[in-house]
């Protein structure tokens, strides 16, 4: 500690005066005061219950490109948006990251997390490629290894089978838990599945149905916003 021995007694004095010279933080009321509160006995109020606007709240935000890259494989059972332009497979999210606003901390130091048209376009493209592969892979997999369809007969169009899978996908994609006795919540996606499957050739009915559902769920703002 050459040349700085004089800092030792000063440091000791500083520590001794810690009580007096300690950082001054006022003690206000509000959410930050008191012990942390985690659902203290309050029943699950369900999604999106209204609350008073004057309490501390969190704003909705968009996933970063990095979060998207890590989340798509979780939802699809390991699939990424990979393309091969002749020089081996490339991760398109990595390729497109600068275009999507991911920071390089040189020219771009802050990621624009507005849910704008560029990210919407990207998700549109990504969903078409990923969902098509997911459908084919899932259909070829044994039931115990499937991650998309949850019923035994993959090509089943039975409403009960479709609803079961739709419930699972809503939980998987959007963390929306739809109770067994709530069929109304599934109606838009069910209608989409039926429309897509009924207009497809019979041998592709289920595949087109699930493809449409997958694309709809991946491009839904519920997926990328949180």
């Amino acid at each position: 500690m050459s040349g700085r021995w004089w800092m030792v007694p000063i440091g000791v004095l500083a520590l001794a005066a810690c009580e007096e010279g300690a950082p001054h933080f006022a003690s206000p009321a509000g959410d930050a005061g008191g012990p942390p509160v985690v659902d203290a006995g309050r029943p699950d109020v369900g999604p999106d219950a209204a609350v008073a606007p004057d309490r501390l709240s969190r704003a909705v935000g968009r996933m970063t490109v990095e979060q998207l890259a890590r989340s798509i494989p979780v939802v699809t059972g390991g699939l990424r948006w990979m393309e091969d332009f002749g020089n081996g497979p490339v991760d398109m999210l990595q390729v497109l990251a600068p275009t999507l606003g991911a920071p390089d901390y040189l020219l771009v130091t802050e990621e624009n997390l507005e849910p704008g048209l560029i990210i919407a376009k990207f998700l549109q493209d990504a969903s078409h490629r990923i969902c098509a592969r997911w459908v084919e892979r899932d259909r070829a997999a044994p039931p115990e290894e499937r991650t998309l369809v949850h019923h035994e007969d993959w090509d089943s169009l039975e409403p009960a089978d479709v609803d079961r899978t739709l419930r699972a996908l809503m939980l998987r994609f959007h963390a929306r838990r739809v109770p067994e006795d709530d069929d109304a919540a599934l109606e838009p996606l069910r209608a989409l599945f039926v429309n897509a499957s009924s207009t497809a050739p019979p041998e592709r009915a289920a595949r087109d149905g699930w493809l449409a559902v997958c694309i709809a769920m991946m491009t839904d703002p519920e997926f990328i916003l949180y």
């Binding site: 500083a14 950082p23 959410d31 930050a32 999106d48 609350v51 963390a175």
Partner: protein, 543 residues
């Protein structure tokens, strides 16, 4: 327990309205977006997972939560899940991303070695005439000084005469070219690369008598790259090396957080992480780095471990000078922010939430006489920032600008007479040390007293000199003592987790208590994360 959710149609409509509002910004949409809602536990788990682990929760995790709800164990399970996420490896996603956004550690555009005399380039990248193997490696200055032009060797095996001298072939363009040899490079042992024979030399002393492990020696182009090409950097090696600097600074922070040490340790740690690429750089390449100037690495060369370039495992090693201050004097930070002012500015912005901003109304005209003032503390307009920035920048005064070299007071005293003489001699050619580190250009009468003074000492008063001698740690300790650091750390984390800045009311009402908790809790950053995500406000979402 049955839960009621808005119908899918209303939810989709709301989502579409949110999307449309973000694009169109209509008044009606604004009104709908301001009403906060409380997310249910599944959405809360999704938020937590994205924030703390950087990904959505798996279906299995969501089903496990459903099972816990059925079992009536939700309160404990969510808190336990937060603890589990914080204790898990994926928590690094938050630690790293947060600090990438604070520190901007990108040095990709920098020349870690001088491209003229230490960068091995494939022939195809420079004046390639389309003849021969485009991948054979050469160095620009070797071509210039030894071959007569910025050209590589010919694409034939090298030959030596009976006396062991390289054989050159004369070319019509006036150059002379030798052949290549195959070398097993340090960056790819077990393989061979085709290197021009002059570049593959292992001479210890250059033609000018300087050692070949110095810039002065290598600059002659007569040295060669040494055993296994250790004195030079190839593009392949650079692609491995450059990311290590970012990794080094991130590891320094990650370790402190994961070990639940005081967050302030990231500024006081006197050790740093090294792996094979960094050891090689410190030992062989840094001593030749002139622009940016490194020369003396943070861990002294004689204290470096014996690690091959290909060894990517990390180990901790003590740094040299006491004036080091954790990440604030790391290679990454000093190279990214190349002036003392930039280093201070980044610290103020990232850790004190006090960026330096131009005064309202802008700066006076440069033609205004008051703009002629050489001392920025006094110059009109500039003084709005520089009155604070100069004392802050002084803390980095012993670390070279445009580089990382620590300016040892014994080698770089505050005043050098020969530099002063040179400064006062119009037309004199001052030596490199004087030009680079000392005041030798007097552009204003007020600067005259500083002729021959170490540049970082110019204009300094007694208080700033004390800052300079103490280093950045002094600045950090002051910010700890007056609470600014704690408050800013809380604010920055709040902004990340709540997707917005604190309002004035929240800064007055909530911030002091959170900062106090952070301070009283020993600056446990992970605990602060848990605190912020377990507050009821985290579950209330403004839509």
């Amino acid at each position: 327990m049955r839960t009621r959710s808005p119908t899918p149609r209303r939810r989709l409509a709301a989502a579409l309205a949110l999307w449309a509002a973000s694009l169109a910004g209509t008044a009606a949409a604004d009104e709908a977006c301001e009403a906060p809602v409380e997310v249910d536990r599944f959405r809360l788990l999704r938020q937590l997972s994205l924030d703390l682990r950087g990904r959505v929760p798996s279906e299995a995790e969501l089903r496990a939560l459903a099972a816990d709800i059925e079992a009536g164990a939700v309160d404990e399970s969510l808190s336990a899940r937060v603890d589990e996420m914080i204790a898990g490896e994926e928590f690094s996603a938050l630690i790293r991303r947060h600090h990438l956004d604070l520190l901007w550690p990108n040095i990709d555009g920098l020349q870690l070695v001088d491209p003229a005399f230490a960068l091995l380039l494939p022939a195809r990248l420079y004046q390639y005439d389309g003849v021969g193997d485009p991948d054979r490696l050469f160095i620009l200055y070797v071509g210039l000084t030894q071959r007569g032009g910025l050209v590589p060797c010919k694409d034939e095996p090298a030959e030596w005469d009976e006396e062991g001298n390289l054989v050159f072939e004369a070319y019509p363009d006036g150059t002379r070219r030798e052949g290549w040899v195959k070398v097993e490079p340090y960056w790819a042992p077990g393989t061979e690369v085709k290197v021009c024979a002059l570049e593959a030399q292992m001479r210890p002393i250059a033609d000018n008598g300087a050692p070949c492990d110095t810039a002065q020696g290598m600059f002659t182009g007569s040295c060669g790259c040494g055993p296994d090409l250790e004195r030079c950097l190839s593009i392949d090696a650079a692609l491995v090396l450059i990311p290590q600097f970012r990794e080094q600074i991130l590891r320094a922070i990650e370790r402190v957080v994961i070990e639940r040490r005081p967050y302030t340790d990231i500024f006081f740690d006197d050790e740093e992480d090294l792996n094979g690429p960094l050891v090689h750089y410190y030992r062989h390449l840094a001593p030749m780095a002139v622009d940016p100037i490194v020369q003396v690495p943070p861990v002294p060369v004689d204290a470096l471990p014996d690690r091959p370039f290909t060894d990517l495992t990390w180990s901790r090693h003590p740094r040299g000078p006491e004036e080091h201050a954790g990440i604030l004097t790391s290679m990454s930070y000093l190279l990214r922010f190349q002036t003392a002012r930039a280093r201070a500015n980044r610290f103020y912005t990232a850790f004190l939430c006090a960026p330096f901003e131009a005064p309202p109304g802008g700066l006076p005209s440069p033609d205004d006489p008051c703009s002629d003032e050489p001392d920025l503390r006094e110059r009109c307009g500039c003084n709005a920032c520089h009155a604070r920035l100069e004392p802050a920048a002084a803390h980095w005064g012993r670390f070279a600008e445009a580089g990382t070299m620590y300016l040892d007071p014994e080698q770089f005293p505050p005043f050098v007479a020969r530099c002063a003489e040179c400064a006062r001699s119009p037309g004199a050619d001052c030596d490199f040390i004087c030009r680079r580190f000392y005041v030798t250009e007097i552009g204003h009468p007020d600067e005259a007293p500083f002729a021959g003074v170490l540049k970082s000492y110019q204009w300094r008063d007694e208080a700033e000199l004390a800052n300079l001698e103490a280093g950045p740690e002094k600045l950090v300790r002051a910010a700890i003592e007056d609470g600014r650091l704690a408050q800013c750390v809380v604010r920055k984390l709040f902004e990340r987790l709540y997707h917005r800045e604190m309002t004035d009311e929240e800064r007055a009402r909530d911030l002091p208590a959170l900062a106090r908790e952070f301070h009283d809790g020993g600056y446990d950053w992970a605990a602060l994360v848990k605190r912020l995500v377990t507050m009821p406000g985290y579950r209330r979402m403004i839509r």
